[in-house]
């Protein structure tokens, strides 16, 4: 059998499945919803406006120039903005903090000062103001000792210890993207698998498969159907993924690191791998039916595998991406398509594990496709009753 004669037949089958699925109302509606969800990721943050925190510092009288410079420098580094509000006296400044009009109020009296802070507010801004005041005073003191501006700058350049976040994930935002990728993959895999199963069962029960098997090899029919319906599923994943990815890249979406674009792209790759692992099984199980209405029960075992993997991903892996269970599930071919993209978004997965998961899933897909095409070829020709799986495999 040459590729030259195999592929044209499979391509015809795929083209037909693509045309019929693409013109169906249900596919169009779901894809439109996916697209809207993707656009929402891009547009909603713009509507919500800037996420940059704003702090108000209350002062009495003029603010020392040095302090103002210090605060603006800290604001630029820490990605927040500072407003200065002037009050006539200490009592008014104190009241402003109490009322929540100011986040902190600084009252300075000859080298000593008081910082009024909200009793139940965040400690971040007061700490920043304290540090700025301190730095300003040290500068003044050092100038008093006759140090040059260069010397003072050198002293002040002493870096603070670097902070390393040591949470379960490298970035909470990215982890959230991973979870959404997991949900989208689960929905589209289930949907695509069910569509493939229904298409196969329809072909068998209408005996179209008999006409087709007289001119096509079972593998052409199987692979063609999987490609056609798979492309429709991929389009749905892309409908939500592409706008979301562009939004992350252009920085218009929340406060996500650009690595999240990679997580979204990886989701597309895992969809293709997931289809390769699952679609052939869906198709094979669907050939065992006698009536189209039996599809649901026929594909139940495959659905259970998918649902189990999804639950692992959103319950276990989200909580602890590097627990032994998560690592194992992200490598096991059946659960990898759902668990690995979620785990990868934690940012703490060694690249070799991703590579290994790819290889294992691809290898399993080849094996499953071979097993499935055997069941498929047998199942399609055993008609008139519900076929047992064992019969289709051993026959």
């Amino acid at each position: 059998m040459s590729t030259g004669s195999w592929w044209p037949g499979a391509r015809l089958v795929a083209g037909r499945a693509l045309a019929e699925g693409g013109s169906s109302k249900s596919w169009r509606i779901v894809t439109l919803l996916m697209l809207l969800a993707g656009l929402a990721v891009a547009i909603v943050p713009r509507l919500l406006g800037s996420q940059t925190p704003q702090y108000t510092l209350g002062v009495v009288g003029d603010v020392p120039a040095g302090l103002s410079t210090q605060l603006q420098g800290a604001a630029a580094l820490g990605d927040f903005t500072v407003n200065i509000a002037t009050y006539p006296d200490a009592a008014a400044a104190e009241q402003a903090v109490r009322d929540g009009d100011a986040d902190a109020a600084l009252v300075e009296t000859d080298g000593a000062g008081t910082l009024y802070v909200s009793a139940d507010g965040s400690a971040t801004f007061p700490a920043i103001v304290s540090q700025a005041v301190l730095a300003d005073r040290i500068t003044t003191t050092l100038q008093g000792y006759g140090l040059s501006a260069t010397e003072i700058a050198a002293i002040r350049a002493t870096p603070p210890p670097e902070q390393v976040p040591v949470g379960k994930v490298a970035n909470e935002g990215r982890a959230a993207v991973g979870m959404v990728v997991g949900i989208v993959l689960y929905l589209t895999l289930i949907l695509t698998g069910t569509t493939i199963a229904t298409a196969v069962a329809t072909e068998k029960t209408t005996r179209i498969s008999e006409v087709l098997l007289a001119v096509l090899r079972p593998t052409q029919l199987l692979v063609g159907t999987v490609i056609g319906v798979g492309v429709l599923g991929l389009a749905q994943v892309a409908a939500v993924g592409v706008p979301a990815g562009i939004a992350v890249l252009t920085g218009s979406s929340f406060d996500l690191p650009t690595a999240a674009v990679g997580d979204i792209a990886l989701g597309l790759v895992w969809f293709v791998l997931g289809i390769c692992v699952y679609a052939f099984l869906f198709a094979a199980m669907a050939t065992l039916v006698q009536k189209v209405t039996e599809v649901g029960s026929a594909i139940l075992p495959v659905n259970v595998l998918l649902i189990g993997s999804y639950l692992l991903a959103v319950i276990v892996t989200i909580q602890d991406p590097n627990s032994p269970v998560s690592v194992a599930a992200s490598l096991f071919p059946f659960s990898a398509p759902l668990v690995m993209p979620v785990r990868w978004a934690s940012g703490l997965v060694p690249a070799w594990q991703l590579g290994l998961a790819f290889v294992l899933a691809a290898g399993a897909a080849v094996g499953l496709a071979l097993l499935a095409s055997r069941i498929y070829a047998r199942g399609l020709t055993l008609s008139g009753r519900r076929v047992k799986l064992r019969e289709a495999i051993s026959g």
Binding site: L12, E20, S24, R207, I208, E210, V211, A214, T381
Partner: protein
């Protein structure tokens, strides 16, 4: 192209569907594959089409084994349905034609001409499940012949058709046969297709029990009945001259006589006319049903003999 099945055997678990079936279909001769429900007709067709691999035996085309590529030039119509319910009628035929190797424009041309031939020209864009039952049956035939196949195999094409549709279908098939195509169809309604096919293969319980040209088989069956219309109450005593002739049915104004091969039916007719007026007469050859029952009866006797 002569299509041949030789010693085809097919088991499904403990059930033997085909027990060494032989069949020959010649081009230019409309051939019926006949037998009761469950005789193995559909299984035989599926084996010939390569949908299932037989346990033993082979399918030959002009004397050599049929390959996958040969079947590109075949057309197959399975029993009922065989169409995508949601697909537009015209697209369906184009798809089938392309699966059989035609390019897109050729497939479209062929599909249009077949749709026109079958009276479906204005239904090109209509979804299959919106067509009437009769139109679906015609479209299904269209799907089997759209690529102008050399070999056409139809499973129970006449089942459920009204007399007009039977006539239309047989005209379509006969056109193909006249053009030199190899056409075989199956049917369990033996008497319905009696006048449609020229050659028959009868199978029963997975075996060939009778095969050949219908005319030859009927003539050679040795079963002939002479039907005579007589005056009411006319005597039958002239029959005494023919001791080998038996009375199959005797009514007040007609008699049906079983004529053995060695008796000349014309001599019997002459004797009847000599005895009194004959108002009507006819020589009836056995129907396909009767021939089938004879063949099966003989086979039953044969296998009993073998066991004794």
């Amino acid at each position: 192209m002569a299509l041949q099945a030789v010693g085809l055997t097919q088991r499904f678990g403990d059930r033997v569907a085909l027990a060494g079936v032989d069949m020959t279909v010649r081009p230019g001769v409309l051939t019926g594959l006949l037998g009761p429900n469950g005789a193995g007709k559909t299984t035989l067709m599926r084996v010939m089409l390569g949908v299932i691999e037989p346990d033993a035996g082979e399918v030959l085309l002009d004397g050599r084994a049929v390959g996958f590529r040969d079947r590109q030039r075949w057309g197959y119509m399975p029993q009922d349905r065989g169409l995508y319910p949601l697909m537009p009628a015209g697209d369906q035929l184009v798809y089938m034609a392309r699966l059989h190797g035609l390019d897109k424009s050729e497939a479209t041309d062929r599909a249009r001409s077949v749709m026109a031939e079958l009276g479906l020209a204005d239904r090109w864009d209509e979804r299959v499940d919106k067509l009437s039952g009769g139109m679906q049956q015609r479209l299904q035939l269209g799907a089997a012949i759209v690529h102008d196949p050399d070999v056409i195999v139809l499973d129970e094409p006449f089942a459920g058709l009204d007399p007009v549709a039977v006539e239309e279908l047989s005209v379509t098939l006969r056109d193909r046969v006249t053009a030199g195509r190899t056409v075989v169809f199956s049917s369990h309604q033996l008497d319905l297709v009696q006048d449609l096919c020229e050659e028959i293969v009868m199978i029963h319980q997975g075996r060939t029990v009778l095969a050949g040209l219908v005319a030859d088989l009927r003539a050679a069956s040795g079963r002939r009945q002479l039907r005579l219309g007589l005056d009411p109450g006319a005597p039958r005593d002239w029959l005494a001259a023919f001791p080998d002739v038996t009375v199959a049915a005797d009514q007040v104004d007609a008699v049906r006589l079983e004529i053995p091969p060695w008796v000349d039916p014309l001599a019997v007719l002459d004797a009847a006319r000599a005895a009194g007026p004959v108002t009507d007469f006819g020589l009836d050859l056995p129907t396909l049903s009767e021939m089938f029952l004879d063949a099966v009866g003989d086979r039953a006797a044969l296998s009993e003999g073998a066991h004794a």
